[in-house]
Symmetry: C2
Subunit: 354 residues, 2 copies
Amino acid sequence: MKKHNFSAGPCILPKEVMQKASEAVLELDGIGLSLIEISHRSKEFVSIMDKARSLALELLGLEGKGYQALFLHGGASLQFLMTAYNLLDKKAGYVNTGTWSQKAIKEARLLGDVVEVASSQEHNFNYIPKGYSVPSDLDYLHLTSNNTIFGTQIKEFPETNVPLVCDMSSDIFSRQLDFSKFDLIYAGAQKNMGPAGATLVVVKEDILGKVSRKIPSMLDYSIHVKQESMFNTPPVFAVYVSMLTMQWLKDLGGIAAIEEINERKANLIYSEIELNPVFSGFAAKEDRSLMNATFNITDDALKDTFDTMCKEAGISGINGHRSVGGYRASMYNALPMESVGVLVDIMSELEKKG
Amino acid sequence: MKKHNFSAGPCILPKEVMQKASEAVLELDGIGLSLIEISHRSKEFVSIMDKARSLALELLGLEGKGYQALFLHGGASLQFLMTAYNLLDKKAGYVNTGTWSQKAIKEARLLGDVVEVASSQEHNFNYIPKGYSVPSDLDYLHLTSNNTIFGTQIKEFPETNVPLVCDMSSDIFSRQLDFSKFDLIYAGAQKNMGPAGATLVVVKEDILGKVSRKIPSMLDYSIHVKQESMFNTPPVFAVYVSMLTMQWLKDLGGIAAIEEINERKANLIYSEIELNPVFSGFAAKEDRSLMNATFNITDDALKDTFDTMCKEAGISGINGHRSVGGYRASMYNALPMESVGVLVDIMSELEKKG
Ligand SMILES: Cc1ncc(COP(=O)(O)O)c(C=O)c1O
Ligand SMILES: Cc1ncc(COP(=O)(O)O)c(C=O)c1O
Ligand SMILES: [Mg+2]
Ligand SMILES: [Mg+2]
Ligand SMILES: [Mg+2]
Ligand SMILES: [Mg+2]
């Protein structure tokens, strides 16, 4: 049975990428050796890493603008710590838009003063705070562009002279933004970029080297920049598959092309959620995420029927996160429109049954 | 052409493991989804992680002895930092046996007093220091069981009441030891265990929780233990392939069985190095590594011929590390005896030519 994979991450990747990744595990590009058994210092892997780094900058429109792209270990969670280690000298501001922001705040507090510049916690993070003012004495302002769990997304970023740091784990490469407004962007690979195990960090070089503390080598962006993202053995497979996925996106027409598709997918599901009385959306309308649609069933008696229908249609990964409940349909770049169609059909069938 | 892969890491893995890994990237065990597109909280991946953790303890003979096995991000290099963060309260001792020990020392110095209990630096690390005394007031003593770059290996570990921490990155699962003598063992996956991107940490629970500093979440062993090695999204592919490789080793008869094979492979190459006047070994005889044989060519004029012969025979990855020069034949668990045979044949052919 064909599967429709709405997993929130790790999540669906393009079919042709998985095919090529599978082949590379047996043999990389006719070299007689597997991708995973060659030295990371081999010319083959060095060129994969270089290509991944340059594709990231190219897709974001950041080539030649003083940025460096790194593929690091540790997941986005290690970036909660690394951003603060490298950038928090006295005081940093955080906009608290959910679980991931909170975790970022927790790690930063170990290293300096943290002010919560704005928060939507009082409404269980179902909206994005707006119109807050940003103190001018912050070392940086930390944002979470897309809140994977709650299904909210920042549509307009604050105008400020304070350096902007942004966790884009769940919407990197999904929509057009002026990425040069950000001083540091990070994203765990396991949504729009590749398999779990690598993290993209895009950093403007001139914000580094300004804190006084000693930074452990593995946590020091400057060291990773200097070592061209090869300070230690990188997560080879995850970097390779990320490179393939970025190449797939480039061939498709880049972020502009995928954004259009992502908007269509999101429009399809959100209009169903709105029109269908059996379902109600969780997030405030103007802040709804293009990536993660969170919704509830209005009549609990229909839940089992809906779950069974989904299962029979090959739909997987749409249970909501425990902190929100209900459902979450994650529609990352590689999810075909067809899968959204199948889900929406079931939702409207359920209305007729209900 | 058949390849003989002597790479120092990432390195050769068992053929059947790579075959199964390749298939799982397309579809995991008939579930209709790829290994790399399912949630790490899915029952399928949770059972992979559980199996990896229990196989590690089983192979090391540490089940039911108060140890926990973790599969973490960051490579062994992050463990240089994490061991100190979690265990170094006042003073730690390090035995300096090469590049990797030195890097471990450097990170630990950020967190407390570090004494170099012994060192072989004055002879470019071509031997393992012995007979040194271990101060009794150390929080722990850090050892590097196998020095990948220099080709030396600790054969007898110091008897001491001080907790032992050991970097076993390049000889884990390769030889029988009383692993219960160690309080913390760590190893990057990319030699005997799997692809780059995961790191095994085996920690005796009762050594944790004794330092006074606050430990960042991602660096805190206690948090990883409590979260069953799933505090954040793990490096899914690397954990899966490590699990397969450990299962392969178990099916083969475990560490006792592979140790015998490893000894035969090492004997074959070291006796050739000794008997053949064209080659000389780098490491002191009694400290020679079963994993990495380091050697030089005595007549530089023969170097090009040797390199060409190796290339023509499909031998790859035998260049020595730049800090030693010469050659390094890494003979990890998955390297077949046949490959060592091919190399040794060339070495003795060269003698006839020379
Ligand atoms: C927005 C966001 N930030 C951070 C994380 C944490 O990522 P990781 O598990 O790679 O540490 C996630 C995970 O889903 C996320 O969605
Ligand atoms: C003994 C030893 N320790 C540590 C490391 C560093 O490992 P990683 O590159 O995973 O950080 C290596 C790498 O080869 C090694 O051989
Ligand atoms: Mg969130
Ligand atoms: Mg509705
Ligand atoms: Mg060494
Ligand atoms: Mg000789």
